[in-house]
Each structure stands twice: as structure tokens, then as C-alpha cells.
Symmetry: C2
């Protein structure tokens, strides 16, 4: 993509309304713009990142055997009356009356709707287990939306729902999502730690939050550094017993500041890490909480009808864009992990008015594009300093600078945004390095 054509309205100044790093940087890098309080439009650069995150989340859900569906944003209130949550949810639920005076709502979560789909279609234990997920916009009418996409009102969430015949099977489904989450966050370039959590309005008695460690995170967290020795990229097959893995991850101490008691901590001070964290996922096992009131039951092998055992599993997809930036930025801007970077390479023409330099840049752009490398090509007539600052701000993993001086010596400059390391090399070697 040529920057001269790309819709990338970056800002030099920090917008006054942004209090945290990710909000500031998403505005400055031209990723989002606010439409109304807590409601954002995603501009091209932001949307590319959002979609890459969404795709990694999707792949790990699919890998775990969950099947993708798509429920609508607008629901009838009837199902929420049936589950008993219509009144519980309070003012965070956006309630809507349609033209015929029917009570509707913008779904803040989907336990009711998926349970309704399930109960109408699945009648036998033979069709279990099932895990259905969707990636859809949700709305929660926060009283004070703030921090950009970290605490917006309209937000993109992946929510999965598992259905099993027995509690034992339900826990297997829970474990499968637990492991999928570890893999998902690792692939996103994040260090995520599962922590035992309260279940709140979702319900149930088994629940974990996944907290991403980020220096500028929203809350203080405490954990045993033994987590460092664990590998989250668990390579388990379909039938494998995941309980030992989950036991290992959950046996190590980790707590948010709400739960952590300094005087009563089981971990020796020398092994305790104190940091800051951001919640990016939350999983629940709640058995019959919805299946019982809503009559979601199947016939078991013994012919008896049984309420199904359910769990639900959320990932804040749009929130993750902010969380990744909180975890991956420096004073100059964003430092994207390669798996979610909007482009792999930022190519800079340091002298757009020089025909030879421009020809060399055009050639490099064509070659990298042909080799399948996603390149943002700054072909504008601007100063080298402005271009470097802009590339640092938007945080692409590699910066490739081509100028007349280097070309005279047959070299271009390649910088790694993360390490800051710069090397001069021939254009051919640069292509090899970036396509290798």
C-alpha cells in the first residue's frame, strides 16, 4: 500500500481526552476515531490489526473443535425474562423498543440466545459435545466509557458456549477452552496468566480470567515466577486429557490486587512477581444455570432426559488491540508483535524527488509485494525525520529506508522496530531477509 493513497490520519499531538497509552497511540496512529462516547470507527490501519487478532482467535477456537456461528446483535427480551436475567442486568443493557412496541435489546452477551438455538435443535446425547462460538459486536452501556477500546460501549467479543451431557464432560470442554486461550494469547505475542475469578452476572462456580501482563495495565497483579517455565503453546490432540495441563497452570499462585493478601501469600517474596495486568479473556463453567430455567435438555443413553451442562468463554477481541499496545509500546510509539502487525514492513523513500531513489524504492516495493510481503510504502514527499518518526509511531516490525547516499554505496538500511537494531545491506539481501 502506498502511503500517499492510504487513509492514515496520524497525529503529531497527543489528544487531550486520551488518558492511557493505548488510547493515545491508537488515536495518534490513525487506527480509530470516536463516533460517540465509547463507540469507535476503525480506520484502515486499526481494522487490519483487529482482523488479524480475530483470525488468530478463530483459528484456535476451530483447532479446539468449536464451531463458528453468528448470532445477531439485536435480541428479543423474552429469552432474558425466561432466564431471569432481564431485570438483573440493569442499565448496562441497551434496551430498545421496535416500531411495534416490542421490547428488544442489544446483546451484551449471548447465553440466552445460544441456549434457545440449542434447545430447539439438539435432543440427543449423541449430538454432544457441542461448542458453538461467534465473533460479534456487543453493547454494554457503561456509565463512564473511557480508555478508548479498552472500556468502550460497542465492542467486539468472541464468545463460545459449550454443551455437554455430564459435569465431567463439561469440565473437559472447559479445559479445552482453557488451553485454547493459552495458545491464543501466546500467538498474539502476549504473556497471559490465568487467574481464578469471581463469576459475577454470568454465574457458576468455576471461572478463570486471563490477564495479560503489561507495565501500564489497569490493575496490579501478583504471581509466582514459576509461570515463566511453562510453555503456553500446548500441542494436544483431540482426545488428549488436558486436566494435568490445566492443573499445572492453575496450581501456581496468581492473583489480582482484589484477592491478593500480602500477609497471607503462599509464595515466598523472592519468587513473587508484582506487575500490572489487563483482563482479556474470561471463562466460566456454570452447569445448569441456563439449561434448567430454559429447558435445554437431551435424552441420555439411559433414555432419561437431562439438562445439559454449559460453560461460556469470552475473549475481548477489540479490547485486545488496546491490551497488545499497552504491553508492546515505547516512548516513540507502538511495537507490534509480528503476528498482528498491520504491515510487516514500512518502506521509506528518503528522497521522493530523486528519480533514481524513487525507482529503487518502486522496485523494492514491487519485489516485496510480489513475494507476498505486506508493505506500507511511504512514497510521500516529506522529510526523512518525519518519515522515521511516523514509522516508529505506527510500529511496523521492520523499517526499510532507502536514500540516495546509501544507494551510492549499494546499500539500504533495515531497522528492527523491537530491538532498534539497524543494519546496512544490499537491496537483494534485504529482500532475502524480509521474505525468508
Amino acid at each position: 500500500m502506498r502511503l500517499s493513497r492510504y487513509f492514515l490520519p496520524t497525529l503529531k499531538e497527543t489528544p487531550a481526552e486520551a488518558q492511557i497509552a493505548s488510547h493515545r497511540l491508537m488515536l495518534r496512529a490513525g487506527m480509530i476515531r470516536q463516533g460517540a462516547a465509547g463507540i469507535y470507527s476503525w480506520l484502515p490501519l486499526g481494522l487490519k490489526v483487529l482482523k488479524k487478532i480475530e483470525q488468530i482467535v478463530r483459528e484456535e477456537q476451530d483447532r479446539a473443535g468449536a464451531q463458528e456461528v453468528l448470532m445477531p446483535t439485536i435480541q428479543s427480551s423474552d429469552l432474558w425474562v425466561e432466564s431471569g436475567r432481564y431485570d438483573d442486568y440493569g442499565k448496562e443493557m441497551l434496551r430498545i423498543e421496535d416500531r411495534h412496541g416490542r421490547q428488544m435489546l442489544y446483546g451484551p452477551t449471548n447465553e440466552e440466545l445460544i441456549t434457545d438455538i440449542f434447545r430447539k435443535e439438539i435432543k440427543s446425547y449423541r449430538d454432544l459435545p457441542k461448542n458453538l462460538y461467534h465473533i460479534q459486536w456487543k453493547f454494554r452501556d457503561e456509565i463512564r466509557p473511557r480508555f478508548g477500546v479498552m472500556r468502550g460501549r460497542e465492542f467486539l467479543m468472541k464468545d463460545a458456549y459449550s454443551f455437554d451431557l455430564t459435569e465431567e464432560d463439561g469440565r473437559k470442554s472447559y479445559n479445552s477452552m482453557f488451553v485454547a486461550y493459552l495458545r491464543t494469547f501466546a500467538r498474539l505475542g502476549l504473556k497471559a496468566i490465568p487467574m481464578r475469578a469471581d463469576t459475577g452476572p454470568i454465574g457458576g462456580d468455576l471461572s478463570h480470567e486471563f490477564i495479560v501482563i503489561a507495565d501500564t495495565g489497569e490493575s496490579e497483579v501478583f504471581f509466582d515466577k514459576a509461570f515463566d517455565a511453562l510453555d503456553p503453546m500446548i500441542d494436544a490432540g483431540a482426545g488428549d486429557d488436558l486436566q494435568p495441563i490445566v492443573d499445572e497452570w492453575t496450581s501456581i499462585y496468581a492473583a489480582t490486587d482484589e484477592i491478593h493478601k500480602p500477609d497471607n501469600c503462599p509464595v515466598d517474596a523472592s519468587k513473587l512477581v508484582t506487575g500490572r495486568g489487563i483482563e482479556v479473556g474470561h471463562i466460566f463453567f456454570f452447569g445448569e444455570k441456563y439449561s434448567a430455567p430454559m429447558g435445554a435438555s437431551v435424552q441420555g443413553p439411559d433414555g432419561e432426559t437431562t439438562n445439559v451442562q454449559m460453560g461460556s468463554y469470552g475473549v475481548g477481541v477489540s479490547r485486545l488491540v488496546g491490551a497488545i499496545i499497552e504491553a508492546c509500546h515505547d516512548a516513540d510509539g507502538i511495537v507490534w508483535p509480528e503476528s498482528v502487525a498491520p504491515f510487516k514492513v514500512g518502506l521509506m523513500n528518503l528522497r521522493a524527488k530523486d528519480d533514481e531513489c524513487t525507482a529503487a524504492c518502486d522496485k523494492m516495493y514491487a519485489e516485496l509485494t510480489k513475494a507476498g510481503v505486506d508493505v506500507l510504502y511511504d512514497d510521500r514527499d516529506q522529510s526523512a525525520g518525519a518519515k522515521f518518526a511516523n514509522m516508529d509511531l505506527i510500529g511496523l516490525p521492520w523499517q526499510l529506508a532507502i536514500g540516495p547516499r546509501g544507494l551510492k554505496n549499494g546499500v539500504v538500511e533495515l531497522k528492527n522496530r523491537g530491538s532498534g537494531e539497524r543494519v546496512e545491506l544490499s537491496p537483494e539481501d534485504a529482500v532475502t531477509k524480509l521474505t525468508g
Copy 2:
């Protein structure tokens, strides 16, 4: 995907509420389920088709130089007051009051919001042309939603918005979308004809509808059979003049029954085709209709400030799922064009209790999957007749039946769903044919 695990609740009976073929078949094939009037959940099979259509639409927008953004579903009413459409839109607009009493709405279209984004960020003619699109759920509170996804309330639409300095440039943007639409619908396996149209609540004086020809379409259409000689897969480059192509397509007679006058038709009866059609796209050029009241202007090369010239371009993405089925079905079920088929091949084990047959099927499934072919594998213990009927219903392009009798002779049976042609061939030849 093994059918024994897949969430595919097909129905033998035709649901009473469905009046048209696509609605009946989408319910019977387990693609959608209704949540509330005109609001649907997409089950795995339906979502796969929806995503394939969405991706083809996206590719052709990108090819035409449009850039993808994503605007939210919920908007503030302020912008609509500013453009003057807030009162015009009537009861079809879903109006919402948030917890602070602010007037919000669920976007039925996005001219206002995109114009607001544009005016805040783009100030110079140097940043033009720009064409920004998004693929997002919309809501129109139809008084009588019906016909499934063909006339739903919550629906997925691709809407693009072009911004140009001059009317001449604006018409170039219009032409570029015109050609992109011809390519899009052709790639979806559809015959689509552009017809001059009224502009309705969007406004402007230049507009075309794209009508898909389908025997069971919603309205009667009349067109010159000269369209048959035109190739919609126009291979134009970025700077090419598209006016001659657009002129050619728009010079041939085509009209819906609202406009067509039998006594006053310019086409000779021998060359006039009468058929039925479904609107799937609508494009508009409306100049300053929004830029003037909302102050979306840029500085031109002469230093003067000018309101930008705008157009908008819609494709009904979820509606297309229904339109394709209306155009592509027979008495037994859906006949998917290969470009949007949810799976390429339906593999049937005709004797699931026979170990040898099952081993042969498992092997075929593994080989095709490894070769990158997307296979739905009916591994259930059901009668061959039920399996064939089910495959015909869901309409995958290829059916591959493996049974003990054929295996004795070293053959499997491959059926083309479209032509009905069946051939017996060796398993190896079947793999070659399906991967070739």
C-alpha cells in the same frame, strides 16, 4: 468436517412460515434460524457461505482501490439532524435512547458518519480520491419483515463512499464501482444486470440498481438479450478509462416492471427477454448532498475551498445468500456455485457399519483434506437414501459416494450436483479430479 460432529440441523419438512424458495431452503438446510421477526442467527453452514460472499465482495472492492474501514452499528442522532435526514427516515430507523437519555440509532446506512470522519481528517485535494467501504450489520425496522434474509431487519451490507474534488472525478469513482459490481456478481456465479434507478432517500441524480436474474425473483424485469454478449469480468487497470465500458452496459435496454412500458419499449419483441429479478446492489452519485450541509470540503489546487463530490455504493451481503439460492436451486435443494459453496465435496459413507468401507472413506477424507479440499464427510450411520437426499438439499458442488459394492470393483461414485452427471472411477482418480 465430520457430519457426526457438525452442527447442521437439516429439516425434512418445509417450515410453514417460509413463502419463498431461499427462505425454505435456508431453514431446511440448517443455515439460519430466526431469533425475532426479521432477525436471524447464522448456523455454521450458512455462515460459511456468508463469509465466502463477503470475501469476494471485499476482494473486488480492494481491487478497485477502495479501502476497508469499520464503522460502528450504533450512531449518535446528531449527524442525522445535521444532514437533514433524521426526520425523513421515519419508522424504519431504529431509534434508541441510552442510559444518559442521549438519542442514538442503529445505522440503516452510513453517509452521515463517513462524511463526519472525512471532514475531520481530510483537508486537501492531494488526499483525493478516496473510497472508503465497510461490511457491517445494519438495521431497518421493516414493518413486515419476511422472506428470510431477503427482507430481514438486521442485515449485512457492504457500503462504500467515494470522495472526489470534481464531478468528473466523482463519475470516475462511480464507474470504478460499477465495474467492480459487475465482476463481484459474476464471481458469485450470478447473472446481474445494471438498471437505471430512482435514488430514493439516498438522493442524487445518477443511480443504478444491479438486478440478479432468478426464476423465482421478487419482481418482473425486461431486458435486451444483447446483455448475453457482454463479459462482466472486466480486466481494467488502475488508470484506465472505464466510461466506454459503462456506456456499453448502460446503453442496452433493461427495466423493472415499475418502469417498463410494453407499448413504448425500444427493443424489438424478438430480442426482449422477460424474466424475474432480485436487487442485490445499488450505487449512487449524489455530489454535494451530504458534503454541503455537513461541511465536508477540501482545498483545491487553486487554494479555493470546495465541497467534495460524493457517491455511495451498496451490496446486500446477507441478501445475496438468498439471491444466490433463488438463482441456483432445483426441486431437490440448493445448487451452490463453486465460488460460494460451503464445502466443495460431500463425502458419503454408504455403509458406516462396514469397517472396510469406513476405512476407505476415512482414507479418502484424510487425502482430500490434506490436499486442501474442504470436505463435509457424512460418517453417520444412516441409510444411503437419506444421505443422498441430504447432500442434494445442502447443494455442495460434488458428491462422492463410497459403498461396499463399488469398493469390490475398485470404484467410487462422483456426482456433479449441477449437471446431475455421475461417474464411477477409482479412488485415486477421484482425488485427482477433485484436487485438479
